[in-house]
Symmetry: C2
Subunit: 342 residues, 2 copies
Amino acid sequence: MNLKELSTLLGLSQTTVSRALNGYPEVSEVTRQKVLKAARKYNYAPNPRARGLATGRNHAVGHIIPLSKGHEMVNPVFADFIAGASEIYSRENIDMLLTVVPDSDEADAYRKIAAKGSVDGVIVHGPKADDPRIKLLRDIGMPFVVHGRSGSADENEYSWVDMNNARAFERATKFLIDLGHRRIGLLNGLESMDFAAKRRAGYRTALESAGITEDPDLCHSAEMTEEFGYVAAMKVLTLPDPPTALLTSSIIVGYGVRRALDTLGLRIGKDVSLIVHDDELSYMRNGSSEPIYTATRSSVRLAGRICAEILLDQIAHPERPPRHELLDADLIIGHTTGPAPK
Amino acid sequence: MNLKELSTLLGLSQTTVSRALNGYPEVSEVTRQKVLKAARKYNYAPNPRARGLATGRNHAVGHIIPLSKGHEMVNPVFADFIAGASEIYSRENIDMLLTVVPDSDEADAYRKIAAKGSVDGVIVHGPKADDPRIKLLRDIGMPFVVHGRSGSADENEYSWVDMNNARAFERATKFLIDLGHRRIGLLNGLESMDFAAKRRAGYRTALESAGITEDPDLCHSAEMTEEFGYVAAMKVLTLPDPPTALLTSSIIVGYGVRRALDTLGLRIGKDVSLIVHDDELSYMRNGSSEPIYTATRSSVRLAGRICAEILLDQIAHPERPPRHELLDADLIIGHTTGPAPK
DNA sequence: CCAAACCGTCAAAGCGCTTTGATACCCGCA
DNA sequence: TGCGGGTATCAAAGCGCTTTGACGGTTTGG
């Protein structure tokens, strides 16, 4: 069923039917009702390609997932972010396009996406510490929102939604210091990523203001897998002077740490304290009533919702200035931290 | 840059330029090269909407994610599946559309997707034990591939890619029985899901052929979260006559079981044996060289690749009969199983 | 009472592409 | 010389929608 068929069926012109359907005021209420009823009856849906061609708008946004060798963006955090964003999209009837872009030909891929024009805007995932994609997208002139930031000075020039990574990890580190810990390990994400760099900085700040010198042997940085948590924890805990507390950038890494403690016969929260970062992943909830792990907590799903909302707003009103949302992480106390052992 | 501009720039007609770009034989090789060079130079990409309008083909496929209340399909397994599928799509230059469909108005949503015609085919996720969506899609006449199957008798009438769930769980259960275990718990996914029903069936088969009667108290079924693993394990292990072995439908549930064993001071693989199902999730690898958990293993990423390939094939050749791929799971031995304690 | 404003509707143009059917040209063969 | 058969190119139609500009018909206001 298309517009033409529907309009002849109704004995009206395509114009009138189209207007009726799109809520234009020029059509009388009685006609509109007739049209709406017929549309429902015949299960009419406008062809989005044709509409896109005519309007230049797509009712679609793209999520661009960078794929570096050895670095996989399609991760559980991403899944929850998407889930959040899609809540907004389905409410607004927007399509979501996923595009995996190997970062070898990034610039090209982005230009191509813009040239094809199948999306009205994009969300940028996993920004690096000084990410060229941002300048690129600004040059191209396509609306975009970054999940995270990108270190550089032009932060006010584009829209982003980020968590206060530095602050969160500074607080967590300070919390451990206050409990008497002096040897504190950090199992971080890849520090080429902006979020990980900021977390490291926060950790460093807390140590410095307590007069503790950072020991690079206690810091590891890699893709945030369970296995990384295990391997890195095994490594630092078998050092001659092992840490009494660990911070991890993801609850998944925390699972690996738990397994390492199992293996070494160390008690979590007694022999070794652990603070994880908790993105409130739906399949890896940190307890339902009471938190299990002491954690810095910030919902990535919420971040997805906010990103999507800002993007849609920017698409609808390109003249508005960029928007930023800095989410604060909570520090929540669970059962995995305690005073430093003597 | 569009076709018209490009063609006037070249002093050729749109027809010729279009043909040159699309590899038609009617255009001379020297012209074709000129056109290709210019297209690259001006970064020309055909507008996919316009092309779609003209050809009826979209170069896009949809992934339909069911959303039930209390059931979240955007999960880590899904993320890895998508990653696999997108490998194929990006090779073939196909767009991937994600659509979250609340299962309240499923039928409507599917019809709408078909009516809009923005995708050439869809992949169906998370089929239930007797899923109405399959008949629906067949009636609509849109190419589709199911990730999993749907129990009913018409299995040969549509394309699917599934793992041999029953067989895998039968073997795992038998393996535990051979180790002397008699009380074996099953922490399964939602048994309204086809895959979970099949796993349960396999588990049951193995018990029966060993002459063990199934104890419903040892079986739990829910969304496969870490917390479910913890809660369910705590429940069964504190029974008067607790199991000596557990099977879980996901490695994430296994993490929860590990935590429960921690809490109860039980040793994994000694006091309680554990077999998990391992989808080879990239962020939750079951060991790199040597497996950690004893597991039934089947790569969901591979399943994603195969699904995508079959779908593209069905789109290109709608006349071909449905295809099925039944992946066999390996049973791999890790460090979490051992003989039943006396 | 007539011009001005308004209302509901329509025909037609245009979005950027593919594809059909036509055309102009050249070659070789009788 | 004339004609059939390629070969390389083109103009124009059509995909399904939105939107512009126009058109009769009805109110309204001076």
